[in-house]
């Protein structure tokens, strides 16, 4: 206190004296900054506070039906005995998350204060009737449960080596500030911050070679939200190879030696914890497993969501739309095509195209869950399953030979991408399953940055249709924009420049940058068109055009990112040394 004051006075009144004093001080200061890297604390504290303010201001904002879904779950878990949780169907928002999440909702419902209870927060009704108290309470539960994300990432920062700490700080802060969590959790309403915290915990455990912890956390994460099952092949192979198999000391003398290939003690430990956690999770529901499973895996849904997630099927549907228009306008294209492709794969004639089109448009568009292609072959669920598994196996195989952390996050990202691109009924929100592991990967090599930038920007932009209201337009675009500016610059600074020869294709880098930069004008134009579409009949005719542009343009980015990453993952040996 006194020191500050005298320094200030010196600066104002005793200028000549300052000159003498300042020389050694300056030397000290530079020495301090040189040592500074170590003395920095890399605490996420300030980020938590600043985003806390933002999240509090977002409380009155729009929320989706997911809000009522979670409110209904609070009510179900609070009011009903545990045996009825998965049978209750007063509201159409039945409980379709695994039991740990139900327990979590039960836990939250214990904290509902009386005023919120009176507001209708815990009523099991068809459509929730609630007011501000319920909104504040539920928003606060999201904010508080998200603290886990900050804690786990802080642990991640603290457990990295001093020399890599600034890089891990960039990774951690980019995740906690992610526009994805802001949009999905704090506006749209879900608990992804909390759920991903558990998944990230397992990734951090894998990095620190604490395999049991990794398995525990990952199993827990699945028991909270089964979408994480998409990453299961990768975890399975990683834990198998790194923890259970004993390849290094393996010498084949007879078939008996295969017994020593497996570390039986480790296998036992691993199996015990995994089975144990699943038991804790599902034991109360043991006698009603078919009902629980039917809730968790509703296979009756269609290939794509109402709004196509930006994946391969979005491009496929788009192609189908284009071909339909082209063939109806120019029939000889169809005649030409039938020369190469035979009828079961393509409509017999123009009349059949018209018939299919009519069947598709027949009034119940909004209700029909199934997607029906006019020209292109239909996609059975089995095919999406096979494609997903195929690309996941490709992603997982290298892990079998090299179970390093780098490979692990690489294959996690590719597993996420494969399931996102080819999965059945994928939500756009699932892109977080790709971006989060990719964030851990991108620091390893500068060349991974461009694919990361592509998938992050396209992925976050593809979330925009979730917030269709005009009031969120500036918030979602500006927040994503500023996040991209900060973190693309920060990653560029902290990633290692590749040890191999600079084999970057500059043309493609420029193309990717152009792609990213044109996202902003596209989004703006689409928003303005959306506001004035009532004026122009041709805009109304293409009501879904805006959403289609979103998903097609974003899927282009995500698919090219997948290509780039797959190339680097499979063919660039220097990157993985």
């Amino acid at each position: 206190m006194k020191g500050d004051r005298s320094r200030q006075n010196m600066a104002v009144t005793k200028k000549p004296k300052l000159k003498k004093n300042d020389e050694p001080k300056k030397v000290l200061k530079t020495a301090a900054t040189e040592k500074g890297e170590g003395s920095k604390r890399y605490s996420l504290w300030n980020f938590w506070i600043s985003t806390l303010f933002l999240k509090l201001l977002l409380i009155p904002d729009y929320f989706s039906t997911d809000f009522d879904v979670h409110r209904n779950w609070l009510a179900i878990t609070n009011k009903l005995p545990i045996s009825e949780w998965y049978y209750e169907h007063t509201s159409q928002w039945t409980l379709d998350y695994p039991p740990f999440f139900a327990y979590f909702e039960w836990f939250l419902s214990q904290f509902v204060p009386k005023s919120v209870r009176d507001d209708g927060c815990l009523d099991i009704v068809e459509i929730g009737k609630f007011g501000l108290p319920t909104i504040v309470f539920q928003r606060l539960t999201v904010i508080f449960s998200e603290i886990l994300l900050f804690v786990i990432l802080q642990i991640y920062i603290n457990t990295t080596k001093l020399s890599e700490r600034s890089q891990s700080f960039v990774v951690a802060s980019s995740i906690v500030l992610s526009p994805g969590f802001l949009i999905i959790d704090h506006i749209h309403f879900q608990y992804n911050g909390f759920l991903f915290a558990i998944l990230i915990g397992s990734i951090v455990a894998a990095k620190n070679k604490r395999y049991i912890l990794c398995a525990v956390l990952y199993t827990t994460a699945i028991c909270f939200k089964h979408i994480f099952l998409y990453l299961a092949p990768c975890y399975f192979v990683f834990l198998l190879r790194a923890y259970v198999l004993n390849v290094n000391n393996f010498k084949f003398k007879s078939y008996k030696d295969f017994l020593f290939l497996i570390r039986w003690a480790n296998l036992l430990k691993l199996a015990t914890v995994v089975v144990g956690i699943f038991t804790i999770c599902f034991l109360p529901f043991a006698h009603q497993m078919p009902q629980v499973l039917s809730r968790l895996f509703p296979f009756s849904r269609g290939l794509t969501h109402a709004y196509w997630a930006p994946n391969f099927w979005a491009l496929y549907s788009f192609m189908d739309k284009i071909l339909t228009t082209v063939m109806l306008k120019l029939p000889y294209v169809h005649t030409f095509a039938t020369k190469f492709i035979k009828p079961p794969l393509i409509p017999q004639n123009i009349k059949e195209i018209n018939e299919r089109l009519a069947a598709n448009n027949n009034g119940s568009k909004g209700l029909v869950q199934d997607v029906f292609f006019v020209i292109l072959p239909q996609i059975p669920p089995k095919l999406t399953f096979i494609l997903t598994i195929f690309y996941q196996v490709l992603a997982v195989l290298p892990l079998l030979f090299d179970p390093s952390f780098k490979r692990f996050v690489g294959s996690l990202t590719l597993c996420g991408l494969a399931s996102f691109l080819f999965g059945w009924h994928v939500h756009e929100k699932a892109i977080m399953l790709v971006i989060i592991p990719f964030t851990f990967l991108v620091g390893f090599d500068r060349r991974l940055l461009v694919p990361f930038m592509l998938v992050a920007s396209a992925g976050y932009v593809s979330l925009y249709p979730l917030l269709y209201k005009g009031q969120d337009f500036f918030i979602k675009t500006l927040y994503t924009y500023v996040w991209c500016i900060i973190y693309f610059a920060a990653f560029r600074k902290t990633t290692k420049i590749s040890s191999s020869v600079e084999r970057r294709i500059f043309f493609l880098d420029r193309l990717a940058l152009t792609y990213i930069f044109s996202l902003l004008p596209i989004v703006t134009v689409l928003q303005i068109l959306d506001e004035v579409k009532w004026r122009y009949s041709f805009l109304q005719k293409f009501e879904f055009l805006g959403l289609m542009i979103y998903s097609v343009y974003c899927s282009l980015g995500i698919i090219s990112s997948w290509f780039a990453l797959s190339w680097l993952y499979n063919f660039d040996e220097l990157l993985w040394q």
């Binding site: 104002v12 000159k19 301090a32 890399y42 933002l54 201001l57 009031q471 500036f474 610059a489």
Partner: protein
Amino acid sequence: MAMGKRLLVNKPAEESFYASPMYDFLYPFRPVGNQWLPEYIIFVCAVIVRCTIGLGPYSGKGSPPLYGDFEAQRHWMEITQHLPLSKWYWYDLQYWGLDYPPLTAFHSYLLGLIGSFFNPSWFALEKSRGFESPDNGLKTYMRSTVIISDILFYFPAVIYFTKWLGRYRNQSPIGQSIAASAILFQPSLMLIDHGHFQYNSVMLGLTAYAINNLLDEYYAMAAVCFVLSICFKQMALYYAPIFFAYLLSRSLLFPKFNIARLTVIAFATLATFAIIFAPLYFLGGGLKNIHQCIHRIFPFARGIFEDKVANFWCVTNVFVKYKERFTIQQLQLYSLIATVTGFLPAMIMTLLHPKKHLLPYVLIACSMSFFLFSFQVHEKTILIPLLPITLLYSSTDWNVLSLVSWINNVALFTLWPLLKKDGLHLQYAVSFLLSNWLIGNFSFITPRFLPKSLTPGPSISSINSDYRRRSLLPYNVVWKSFIIGTYIAMGFYHFLDQFVAPPSKYPDLWVLLNCAVGFICFSIFWLWSYYKIFTSGSKSMKDL
């Protein structure tokens, strides 16, 4: 020797807001290659915070028949686009008749036209009164017009000001950005413009442009900007004596008698006024319309104060019932005398000593005396003295920064009754906490027993971990205890307001208490600005 000199220049400028969270956030952008970034980041973040504040309710939401300021602005967009210019200042004056100068009317006209392109029913004549669309379309549109006006007028002016000062003082770009963010995150303006709903940032931005032009010594441009500011909201006249004195003295006395400059300034002023008012004359029925406009702008028929406001008349009204003891004419005269006595020393000082570094202080002294003593003052008018006050965030003097931060909090506090009526409780609390936290006012909360990574405080910047940043409080013990006392009083007021019902005989007692605290703080700050004017005459812009 040369090195010593450079150190002298650099050293003091680096120190303001050292180790505050804002400093911590911007520290990574110190390397030369990244220095262009912080400006944009602050800019975008300030816009995002404004957008999120805008999610809250606005004044008069769902309260017929008169609604509030939001409806007034919407109503003006409605009448300006449907009626000829000659009717603008005459139409149904009982229902939010237009009572701002023509530039506001033109601004409303433009925004109304654009808005009608999106949805004409928002601004249908008569039918749209109290319109509230179920999907918040109108609210969203109106909010975005404020945000865009803010971005166009206020943001660039503030950033230019801090950059000008920074370049003049050889300050690091980070220091400039921190000052700019401290100014842009000023809570009162954010809440009134984006929460309560008004377009003050346009007027304040134009005034800030005028100040920038004075710094750059483009006097005619300064006059133009200032006239535009007056023509947007007449409240900018609170600064008028100073601008008048400064321009006059700069052209007649300093550095020399310069009649050409005076002519140009006079011509620019008159021409701007003429251009703004010409449509009223030529398209709108001649002098009668202009007379009506001026009559509407200056409502002398109203009382000396309307709502409770933290100025002299309202607070002393407890002891002397002015409205009963004096006629309106008498009160007008008294308030005029009081106001003129209040700002005259500052004006004379400006005439005799027109120095750039004194500009903020004389502007504060002048506009504050208007706020404290003039006729018909609203609580929102505190925003006008707050502009020059907040510009002082670019100062490097710890005492100045402390007082600025304190008076900003006091001003926010006096706005509380208004914001409470609007239902902006959450926004009030959050923007108070955010603005103070960013400049490091809450850094005293530093639990040392926590592990290193959990202790609040700088985390990315390489500040020594046992460095203790203090909150912004002056060094002087008397000042310090006074300021802490006022904070306690404000806290106590909030406690009363929340939990204790006022006595039924005096339902306004708590509000009056609020005004009294505000009045005491504002008058002391006003006196302090005079103290600064008379003691820092010989200093320069470098130690602003």
